[in-house]
C-alpha cells in the first residue's frame, strides 16, 4: 500500500473558496433546475440491515464474513421484523438498505420491510431473483467476467444468471466492483450488459479490516480504474449511472474519509444532527452497535471508497461544494447519480460536467 493520509482541509481553506454567493450560483438555469430536482429528496434518512447470516456463494474479500457480525444468530421472525420496521419509521427512517449476507434467501423478510418502509434497496449477488412484489432498487454485484467470478466468487456463469434474472427489470442496477485485478474486464462486461439494456454503476473494492488478499487497490490500479471508468462512461452514457465527479471521488489516491470526512457513526462521534444521529446498522439478530455502524461494517476506513459510503458522505458535504459553479455542478452530478442508483423512479439527468473536477481543498 502506498496511500498517504491527508490532513483534513481546514474550514478556513474551504470557506475561502466560497467566492460566489449561493444565490448567484443557482441563478444559472441548468444548475437551478438540477438543484430543485435533487433537493426534493433531502427527506431521505437511511439505515441498513443485515438480513440473514446465510449466503449461496463465498467471495474473496466479502465484507460480511469479516469481524463479529457473521457469528450473529438469525432472527427470521416476520413479526419481529415488522415491529423493527415500524419502530424505525417512528424514529424517522425513510429509506432502508437490506444487505448481508444474501437478502434474496429471505424474500419474505424483504417484503415485510417493503410493506412498512417503501423506499429502499437490496444488495444481492443476483443468483436468485427477488420477487417483483418487493419494489426496492436491486443492486446486483458484478466482480468481473465469468472467469473471474468463478475464481474469486466460486460461482459459475454468474453474469449470465444475473442477466437472466434481471434483464428488463426497472429495479435493477448492476454494480461493477473494480478490484485491483479486474479493471480491464469492464470493457467486455459493459458491452454485454449494455446489449441487454442493463443499467450499471461502479464500485471500488474497499478492503475489510485486516484483508491481505490481492484485490486491494494501490495508486496504479486506482489510476487505471479512473481511466477505465471515464472510457466506459463516455462510450455508454445511456447505460452507465455515474459522473466524472463520481470517478474522482472514488478513485482518488485518498479515501472518502480523508477527502470528505465520513459522517457515519463509526467515524463520527457527533450525535447532534445528520447520519451521526440517525444512522444504525442492524445485525441479523436485530441488534445494533453504534461503534460499528456504517454502511459497510468492517471496511478498513482508510481504504474506503465504497459506492454506498460515498452516496452519503459526498452528498452530505453540500456546504463545501457550494463554493463556485463548477464545484457545485460536480456535486449535483454526484447527487443526481446517487438518487438514480438508489431511488426507484428517479431518472438520472445528463451530467452537467463532462470533465473531472477536484474535491474541495484537494488536487485531482
Amino acid at each position: 500500500m502506498n496511500i498517504k493520509r491527508a490532513e483534513k482541509p481546514s474550514v478556513e481553506n474551504i470557506v475561502q473558496k466560497h467566492t460566489m454567493k449561493f444565490s448567484k450560483i443557482i441563478a444559472d438555469p441548468a444548475i437551478r433546475e438540477r438543484w430543485e430536482k435533487v433537493r426534493r429528496y433531502f427527506f431521505l434518512r437511511e439505515s441498513t440491515y443485515d438480513m440473514t447470516n446465510r449466503c449461496n456463494i463465498r467471495c474473496d474479500g466479502c465484507y460480511y464474513y469479516e469481524g463479529e457480525k457473521q457469528f450473529t444468530g438469525d432472527n427470521s421472525d416476520p413479526v419481529d421484523w415488522r415491529a423493527l420496521m415500524k419502530a424505525e419509521k417512528e424514529r424517522g427512517i425513510t429509506y432502508v438498505v437490506l444487505a448481508g449476507a444474501e437478502p434474496s434467501l429471505v424474500p419474505e423478510l424483504c417484503r415485510v420491510c417493503y410493506d412498512v418502509i417503501p423506499l429502499g434497496s437490496i444488495a444481492t449477488n443476483g443468483f436468485k431473483m427477488i420477487p417483483e412484489s418487493v419494489g426496492y432498487k436491486i443492486h446486483i454485484s458484478v466482480w468481473g467476467n465469468d472467469d473471474t467470478s468463478r475464481r474469486v466468487r466460486n460461482a459459475k456463469h454468474l453474469l449470465e444468471r444475473q442477466i437472466e434474472n434481471y434483464e428488463g427489470d426497472s429495479r435493477a442496477v448492476f454494480v461493477y466492483t473494480f478490484t485491483r485485478d479486474n479493471i480491464g474486464e469492464i470493457y467486455d462486461v459493459m458491452e454485454t450488459l449494455s446489449r441487454h439494456e442493463c443499467r450499471v454503476t461502479f464500485n471500488i473494492f474497499s478492503a475489510p479490516v485486516g484483508y491481505a488478499g490481492t484485490l486491494r487497490h494501490d495508486n496504479a490500479s486506482l489510476s487505471f480504474a479512473r481511466k477505465a471508468m471515464m472510457d466506459v462512461l463516455a462510450a455508454y452514457p445511456d447505460h452507465v449511472l455515474f459522473s466524472p465527479y463520481n470517478v474522482v471521488a472514488h478513485t482518488h489516491r485518498l479515501g472518502l474519509h480523508d477527502l470528505f470526512g465520513c459522517s457515519y457513526p463509526r467515524m463520527n462521534p457527533s450525535t447532534d444532527i445528520g447520519l451521526g444521529r440517525s444512522f444504525r446498522q442492524y445485525r441479523t439478530d436485530l441488534s445494533w452497535d453504534r461503534s460499528a455502524s456504517c454502511c459497510v461494517p468492517d471496511t478498513d476506513c482508510a481504504d474506503c471508497r465504497h459506492y454506498a459510503s460515498g452516496s452519503a458522505v459526498v452528498t452530505a458535504r453540500l456546504y463545501r461544494h457550494a463554493s463556485d459553479p463548477e464545484t457545485f455542478k460536480a456535486w449535483l452530478d454526484y447527487v443526481d447519480t446517487y438518487l438514480a442508483v438508489w431511488v426507484v423512479g428517479y431518472d438520472k439527468g445528463k451530467n452537467l460536467l463532462e470533465r473531472m473536477t477536484p474535491p474541495p481543498g484537494f488536487e485531482l
Binding site: 466560497h18 433537493r39 433531502f42 444532527i273 445528520g274 447520519l275 452528498t315 452530505a316 456546504y319
Partner: protein
C-alpha cells in the same frame, strides 16, 4: 439577544426554503427545536445556512451547525457574527 426583526427574517427563510406549511414568521415559535421537534436534517440546515450567508454576508462554519438548534439561536448566532464584521 437578537432583535425581533432578525428572528422573523430567519423564520421566514426557514419557511421558504423548507417549504413549511401552516406557519408564518409571526406564528413560528422561535424556541422550537428544529432537529428534535421539526425533524430538520443536515441537508435542510445547510440549505438554510447558505441562504443566511448570502443575506447577511457572514460565514457559518459547518462545525457550528449543532449550535443552530432553534430560530432564536440562529438569530443570535448571526447577530454575534454581524458584530464581528
Amino acid at each position: 439577544m437578537a432583535e425581533k426583526k432578525l428572528i422573523l427574517r430567519v423564520a421566514e427563510i426557514l419557511i421558504d426554503e423548507l417549504k413549511l406549511e401552516d406557519v408564518t414568521p409571526e406564528t413560528f415559535d422561535p424556541e422550537v427545536d428544529l432537529i428534535d421537534e421539526l425533524g430538520i436534517d443536515s441537508m435542510d440546515l445547510t440549505t438554510v445556512v447558505l441562504v443566511l450567508q448570502d443575506e447577511y454576508g457572514v460565514t457559518i462554519d459547518e462545525d457550528d451547525y449543532p449550535k443552530l438548534k432553534t430560530v432564536r439561536l440562529i438569530a443570535e448566532y448571526i447577530d454575534e457574527k454581524l458584530k464581528e464584521l
